[in-house]
Amino acid sequence: MQNNGWDEFEIGAMLRSFDGVATDIALKQPEDRNYSSSNSFTASVADWRIEKPLFNKDYCIDCQFCWIYCPDMSIIARDKKMVGVDMDHCKGCGICVEVCPTNPKSLLMFPEQADEETELAGWPEKDKGEK
């Protein structure tokens, strides 16, 4: 797409979310949609993050609290199962970790540069609660 300057676009701009004919979008998951280059789905806010959430599916109970409370549509849920985190659109707010009800949590925040495999191997044990 041609990037125009601030004074170059017409007053009253129209942007198309999809290329071609788009009907019943509510029944199509993102992978089946024909996004246009002016849809913010094609952009990324990954550089906003200083911490990233990592997902450990061994502890996940698919409650979908993270899905409903994610402000950035970044929790990928398909067929009632939690699949993973969309790292292009996650801003690293940490709500998903806060609302995760499992023990230990199946989502935890790590520094952006942390390596996924090492962190998954060293996932915290169940917290028995100190008395």
Partner: protein, 318 residues
Amino acid sequence: MSEIKKVKNLKEFSTSADRFEGANLLCPGCAHSIIVREVLNATNDDLVLSASTGCLEVCTAVYPYTSWDASWIHIGFENGSTAVAGAEAMYKALGNKGRLKQPDRNPKFVSFAGDGASYDIGFQWISGCFERGHNMMHVVLDNEVYANTGGQRSSSTPIGSSATTSPAGRVSYGEKKNKKDMMAIMAAHGSPYVAQVSPNKWKNMVKAIQHGMEVEGPVFINAVSACTTEWKFAPEDTMAIQDLATDTLVFPLYEIIDGTELNITYRPKNVIPVEEYLAAQGRFKHLFKDQYKYLIKEWQERVDAKWDYLQKREEARV
């Protein structure tokens, strides 16, 4: 298409495909997009949407990107509601003339606005829409401040809150006026459905939205939206603050049907003291100085009185 989408539980709800896209520029942890998602996912029907100027508008339509996967328009600060009302009027007129290309689609008309664009600036326009009886829904994302322009007070800002145009300090405790009771005002317009919702009670919220979309006539939805930037709390605490807002009864969840019949839609099992809600937010920090502590007691009394009033209204059915 026009049948109500079935949402029995969260697992079933999670099969919805979002029509609001990521990489919008809302702050991390902003409750606005949680509300928008729950509204848009409540239906599979086509949507005609608008947003009045505010955080939601400036963050989701930054040229050359749009974050909306449905027909969406933005015009001015005040007339988001009338833009949708105009589209609805045209839809009705074309339908009467039999000139709709897809008469079986049954689109839903929804306008989004912040509390500034609803309580203050767009008030006359919303009032007009409700008086004319358009078949639309107006959703207020109520974060109690003009967050987009740097936190000026709006008529939704509650007593004691520190805003940039009503700052707290040695001589002032911040905002001095109580919040406008918009729910009662919109119910007095004779609206068939007026509801206060909160995204942390998602089932309650989706039920209210679906009911609002089914009824004929203008529907007003006031959604509590915790603002991490202006309420001053950490972004990951958004849902905790929302829980506090509903469980301390600062934001009681209720609906008013046909302008008269009031139902409380959520009763917290354990009512939390208002003090905890105030203590969790930086904008009320100064209330915990000895000088202003009496305000916390007043807050509690005000919230209790409101809850009493709502319960009496519910019982009396008037």
